[in-house]
Amino acid sequence: MDIRDIRKVARLARLEMSEAELETMTRQLTSILNYVDQLQELDTSNVEPLAHPLPLQNVFRPDVPGESLSVEEALRNAPVRAGQFFAVPAVLDPADDLSH
């Protein structure tokens, strides 16, 4: 891990960090990764990859409608609202639209 990786990860997580913070993070994350890296010493060639820690599979819910929140309840935590909508600052750079 070097500071460029940290900068990239911070940007992806939308975290604003000072140069000093980035340096601290680089040091700390490197140390955490090194610690976890010890696991690489184990021979896992005969171990099935684990997709989930619980020995559970095929947990389903029937397709039956239930109660939703009221609009008022749904919007209660909204910092800003516009009528029945959540209001959010416009996304300025369309290139940041990674989504659709």
Binding site: H52, G66, F86, V88, A90, V91, L92, P94, S99
Partner: protein, 495 residues
């Protein structure tokens, strides 16, 4: 079309599955509900909630995947795709990354140059995001967010880049829509967003330079905001030409591999793609397995059961209609199948009573138009298959001409009566040989000169007599029979 390049297209299609509730919670998925009225802590992404998979959504996904000839993974899991956007309240979308539940399928389409097989890379389940409405005033006002759609179950179907023209892309989408509707997976209404399509487009150009000839490929552009099947075709056509021009301007650098994939929005009003700058690095979604959802294991028995329940798929239907006893043309088979299974069943019933060609003609010439006019589906249509079959048979037997038959049909439709009653009430009576002979003899009497002219060798002269008889039958006599009887009668006359 003759172009100096080859279009290469892969389509990513999202369809909304026909469930009553969302993928991970029991909120409804009704289209057009008041904003933010179909949300709960789970789809709002509140901390501490637990999503649980909708069994019906998984079943519908399985149906679609099997109808698309996909392999089904016996083990599948869900992953978080992380990105920030105001209509994604959790800041991640639950999707499938490295272990999609289905992969490696295909869809056969009928193109103008014959049947083509379009490969399917994968089909996986994921949840939809909400809807943002941006301030159109240009003053940078707030965007409004409606989260009703968040968590709606989607099936993403990714084709291989096997599509070679705008027309084939449209055919692929129409075939996919028909298939998914027929097997009850999705209503595929593009206007309501239950079928959405992104097109990955680039072109291959035969390029000659100092280094000799080569096939040059342009960078990939993913076109979004395609709101109809027609706009998919138009956007692909436009984008291919745009890429060709961009390549001509900079053949060294406007190349696949030199520039990363970028996105473009399709502007329907202006009929053009608006391409964003090519990014310097690929999007990084930091996928990881979702710990809230447990894996799904599918057994071979389950797969067999779903396969058995699919019924006849449109491609199988087309093949069957072209074979005996129907022996329809490829075109007719395509047109009928395109109207759905109910229409095909109706056709088969009519064809069994009458004959396949007449049945098909009646459907495509009359019934389709009536249904459109009346905004009805074939199962609501008042003229049922046995009645239409009877009309066709009566028409043949009585030698009723097309226009008259249409009158009978309209009367049947308007007054809900059967073919025989309608024919009777319209006064279209059958003309047997005795009746016809009477008319023929009278006509010969009244046209002595014409008959003599005919006898002298003027073949055309008899047309006059024939026309008189036809007029007398009000178009209800069978022309071939009248001609035959007339010739027999004339032959008896001494020249």
């Amino acid at each position: 079309m003759n172009t100096p390049y080859q279009i290469i297209v892969g389509l990513e299609v999202h369809v909304q599955l026909m469930t009553k509730t969302k993928l991970f919670c029991s909120c409804k998925t009704v289209f057009g509900a008041p904003p933010n009225s179909q949300v709960c802590p789970i789809c709002l992404g509140m901390p501490g909630v637990l999503p649980v998979m909708n069994e019906q959504a998984f079943q519908l996904g399985l149906r679609a995947a099997l109808a698309l000839n996909c392999q089904i993974a016996n083990f599948t899991k869900w992953d978080r795709k992380n990105y920030y956007y105001p209509d994604l309240p959790k800041n991640y979308q639950i999707s499938q990354y490295d272990l999609p539940f289905s992969y490696e399928g295909y869809l056969d389409i009928d193109t103008s140059s014959g049947s083509r097989r379009i490969g399917i890379i994968r089909a996986h389940l994921e949840e939809d995001a909400g809807k943002s409405m941006h301030d159109e005033s240009g003053r940078g006002g707030d965007s409004k967010v409606d989260l009703n759609r968040t968590g709606t179950p989607l099936l993403e179907i990714v084709s291989k880049p096997d599509i070679r023209s705008a027309e084939d892309a449209e055919t692929y989408l129409r075939e996919l829509r028909l298939l998914l509707r027929e097997i009850g997976v999705s209503d595929c209404e593009m206007q309501e967003g239950s079928l959405r399509c992104d097109a990955n487009v680039n072109i291959h150009i035969l390029y000659s330079s100092d280094n000799g000839e080569e096939i040059a490929a342009t960078p990939l552009v993913e076109i979004k905001n395609l709101n109809s099947i027609g706009s998919v075709g138009r956007a692909i056509q436009y984008e291919a030409e745009r890429q060709y021009e961009a390549f001509q301007k900079d053949p060294k650098n406007y190349r696949f591999g030199k520039l990363l994939k970028t996105t473009a929005g399709w502007n329907e009003a202006r009929g053009m793609t608006q391409v964003q700058r090519h990014k310097e690095e690929a999007a990084d979604y930091r996928y990881f397995p979702d710990p809230d959802l447990v894996p799904v294991v599918v057994t071979a028995e389950q797969i067999e059961e779903v396969k058995r329940s699919l019924g006849e798929l449109p491609s199988q239907q087309r093949t069957r209609l072209q074979a005996a006893p129907f022996s329809l043309s490829a075109y007719d088979a395509q047109v009928l199948t395109g109207q759905g299974r109910k229409m095909v069943a109706y056709f088969e019933e009519v064809a069994k009573i009458s004959d396949p060609k007449s049945a098909c003609n009646w459907l495509t010439n009359e019934v389709f138009a009536s249904l459109k006019e009346r905004s009805e589906e074939i199962d609501q249509f008042p003229i049922r298959a046995p009645q239409l079959g009877e009309l066709i048979n009566e028409m043949k037997q009585l030698g009723i001409k097309r226009e008259k038959a249409r009158d009978v049909y309209q009367k049947m439709l308007a007054e809900n009566v059967d073919a025989k009653t309608a024919i009777d009430q319209l006064g279209y009576k059958p003309f047997d040989d005795n009746l016809l002979l009477d008319l023929i003899r009278k006509a010969i009497e009244g046209n002595r000169k014409a008959v003599l002219d005919y006898k002298k060798g003027n073949e055309k002269a008899l047309d006059r007599v024939f026309g008189t008889v036809m007029r007398e039958t009000k178009g209800m006599g069978r022309p071939d029979r009248i001609k035959q009887l007339l010739l027999e009668e004339v032959a008896k006359i001494e020249a």
